[in-house]
C-alpha cells in the first residue's frame, strides 16, 4: 500500500468552494434583500465551473476529463461489480463519479446562465441588462428554478454515491477531497500540489469579492449602500412638491393611468382631504401622471403592477393592487405598527429607493424592531 496525492490543491478548492457557493445561493434565494449576495455566489459558481472546464483539460492527471472512466460500458461494468464480492476500484474518478461531474457541470452551467438571464430580464441588471423583457425574464426564472432543483437532486445522488462507495471500498472519500491523499495497492501516479494555481484562484476570489462588496465598507448611516441602482425615472417638480407636502411623492409608474385620472378627478375627496388644487396645477400633475403611469413599464414593479391589476379595476391606493398585496403579505403587523414605519403608505421606511420610484429588490431594508 502506498499513499499518493490524487487531488491537487486547485481541485479541492474548486470542490469545496463550489459546495459553499451552492449552499450560499440556496440560502439567499428567498429573500430579495440578499439578491446581491445571491448574484455574487452565482458569479462565483459559474467562475468555478469555467475554471473546472479548463482544469479538466490542462490540470493534473486525475483532474483531466481524458482520465475519466465514463461511457456506457464502463458504467455498466462498474455498476455490476458493485454487487459482486470484488467491486471495481478506481483511484481517480470512478465511472459513476465521472458521470456525476459531467451532470453537475452541465446542469450547473444551465443554472448559472439562466440565473444571469433572469437578472438581465427581471431586474435589468448584470451582463444581460437591457437585452430581455420582464416577461422573458420570468421564463428564465422558471428555467433557473427548475434546473436548480434538478442540480440539488444530482448533488444528492452524488453524495449518496460517495457514502456508498466509501463503505464499499473502505476508504474515506470525503477526507481524500480534503487532504488530497488516497491509499493504493497498485502503481499509480501521484500528482503535483499546484499551489501557484490555488493561490491565484484565491487571490482572484479575494480581489473580486472585495470589489463587489466594497459599497458595504464605505457606506454611512445616512447614505446606506444600494447594491442595485435602478434607472433614472422621469420626474416633475410640481409633482414632487405637491405630493410630498403630505406623503411620499409616489412615482406615477406605480399605478395605471386610469387610477391617476380618477385620483385627480376626485381631488376634493383625496383620502379625507380636499386637495384644493387649482386647474393649472391639476392639469400639469394629470399630464405627468398619465405620461409616466404603470403602462410605461419602466421598471419591474411598474410592469408587475400594470399586468396584475384587472382591467375593470381602478385602484386608488398602491396598497390595493394585487402585486402589492402579494409582495407584502408576509410582513407582520408589528412591523407596520412600528413608530418608524407608522403607515403602509410610508414606502421609504423599508425601500431605500422609494423616492426614486425604482423599488429595486436589493434596496429593501426591514427596519429593526424598537422596543
Amino acid at each position: 500500500m502506498s499513499r499518493i496525492r490524487v487531488w491537487d490543491l486547485p481541485i479541492r478548492l474548486f470542490h469545496w468552494l463550489l459546495v459553499f457557493s451552492f449552499i450560499a445561493t440556496w440560502l439567499t434565494e428567498d429573500n430579495d434583500r440578499y439578491l446581491d449576495f445571491h448574484v455574487f455566489f452565482g458569479y462565483l459558481f459559474i467562475g468555478l465551473l469555467l475554471f473546472r472546464l479548463i482544469w479538466g483539460i490542462v490540470g493534473s492527471h486525475y483532474a483531466r476529463f481524458a482520465q475519466f472512466h465514463y461511457g456506457f460500458k464502463a458504467i455498466r461494468d462498474y455498476s455490476k461489480s458493485l454487487f459482486s464480492s470484488h467491486p471495481q476500484h478506481f483511484v481517480g474518478h470512478n465511472p459513476a463519479g465521472s458521470l456525476a461531474i459531467f451532470a453537475i457541470i452541465s446542469l450547473g452551467l444551465i443554472v448559472a446562465v439562466s440565473g444571469l438571464l433572469t437578472l438581465g430580464g427581471e431586474e435589468q441588471h448584470g451582463v444581460f441588462a437591457g437585452l430581455f423583457s420582464f416577461a422573458e425574464g420570468e421564463i428564465f426564472h422558471e428555467i433557473h428554478e427548475i434546473s436548480a432543483w434538478l442540480l440539488l437532486g444530482v448533488v444528492g445522488v452524488h453524495i449518496a454515491g460517495v457514502v456508498v462507495s466509501s463503505f464499499l471500498h473502505r476508504e474515506n472519500l470525503v477526507r481524500s477531497m480534503v487532504t488530497g491523499y488516497k491509499m493504493t495497492e497498485t502503481e499509480q501516479p501521484s500528482v503535483n500540489l499546484h499551489i501557484t494555481v490555488a493561490i491565484l484562484l484565491l487571490t482572484i476570489l479575494l480581489i473580486s469579492s472585495g470589489f463587489y462588496f466594497q459599497g458595504y465598507f464605505t457606506q454611512t448611516p445616512d447614505k446606506p449602500y444600494l447594491p442595485f441602482v435602478g434607472p433614472q425615472l422621469a420626474s416633475n417638480e410640481t409633482w414632487q412638491s405637491e405630493c410630498s407636502d403630505c406623503h411620499l411623492a409616489y412615482h406615477p409608474s406605480l399605478l395605471p393611468s386610469r387610477s391617476w385620472q380618477r385620483i385627480f378627478k376626485e381631488q376634493s375627496e383625496h383620502f379625507g382631504d380636499d386637495l384644493a388644487l387649482d386647474e393649472e396645477t391639476l392639469t400639469e400633475l394629470g399630464n405627468f401622471a398619465i405620461n409616466y403611469a404603470a403602462e410605461t413599464e419602466v421598471t419591474e414593479i411598474a410592469w408587475k403592477i400594470n399586468h396584475t391589476v384587472p382591467l375593470h379595476d381602478i385602484p386608488l391606493r398602491i396598497t390595493e393592487t394585487t402585486y402589492w398585496k402579494k409582495q407584502h403579505h408576509e410582513i407582520e403587523d408589528i412591523i407596520w405598527q412600528q413608530q418608524n414605519v407608522n403607515s403602509k403608505a410610508n414606502c421609504s421606511a423599508c425601500h431605500l429607493d422609494a423616492k426614486q420610484g425604482t423599488f429595486e429588490d436589493g434596496a429593501m431594508r426591514i427596519p429593526e424592531l424598537i422596543d
Binding site: S244, C246, H247, L248, D274, L275, N342, S343
Partner: protein, 134 residues
C-alpha cells in the same frame, strides 16, 4: 443685440424683488375686507388655532395644532402619514405666507379637514394675523 440684453436685464431687475410675508398677507387681507370684513383679531385666530372640532366621520378631535403643534415655530407632523411639516411661523421659516395661491390652497384643504367646512374671510384674516405674528 446689446440693447435687447440691456432691456431684458432691466425687465428682470424690475421684476426681481424679495417677497415678504406681509405683502401676500396684505393682499389677502384687502381681499377679505372687500368681502365685508371690517376688523381682524389676532386673539380670535389664536383661540381658534387650538379649538377642538370633532370629525363627523371618525369621531376624532381635530385641531390646527393636531398637525402643526401649538408652537408654530416648531416642526409639525402629518396626522395620518407622519410626514414632517416645516414650521409655519415666518420668523423661523421665511418662505411661509409668501405665495397667495399656496395660502388659498392650504386654507381650503386644512379648514375642510379640521373644521369640516371652508373658513370664512373673517376666520382666514384672523389666522393670517396670528400666524404672521409668530
Amino acid at each position: 443685440m446689446r440693447s435687447t440684453t440691456l432691456l431684458t436685464g432691466m425687465v428682470l431687475i424690475s421684476l426681481w424683488r424679495p417677497v415678504f410675508a406681509s405683502e401676500a398677507v396684505d393682499t389677502l387681507l384687502d381681499e377679505y375686507r372687500s368681502e365685508g370684513v371690517t376688523e381682524f383679531s389676532l386673539e380670535d385666530g389664536k383661540v381658534m388655532w387650538t379649538q377642538e372640532f370633532t370629525d363627523a366621520e371618525t369621531g376624532k378631535v381635530r385641531q390646527c395644532s393636531t398637525c402643526h403643534t401649538a408652537d408654530l415655530t416648531q416642526e409639525g407632523k402629518h396626522e395620518k402619514t407622519g410626514k414632517v411639516i416645516k414650521p409655519l411661523a415666518p420668523s423661523v421659516n421665511p418662505e411661509r405666507l409668501t405665495q397667495i395661491a399656496e395660502i388659498n390652497k392650504w386654507f381650503k384643504r386644512n379648514c375642510k379637514w379640521t373644521i369640516g367646512r371652508e373658513c370664512t374671510p373673517q376666520e382666514k384674516g384672523n389666522f393670517l394675523n396670528f400666524i404672521n405674528a409668530q
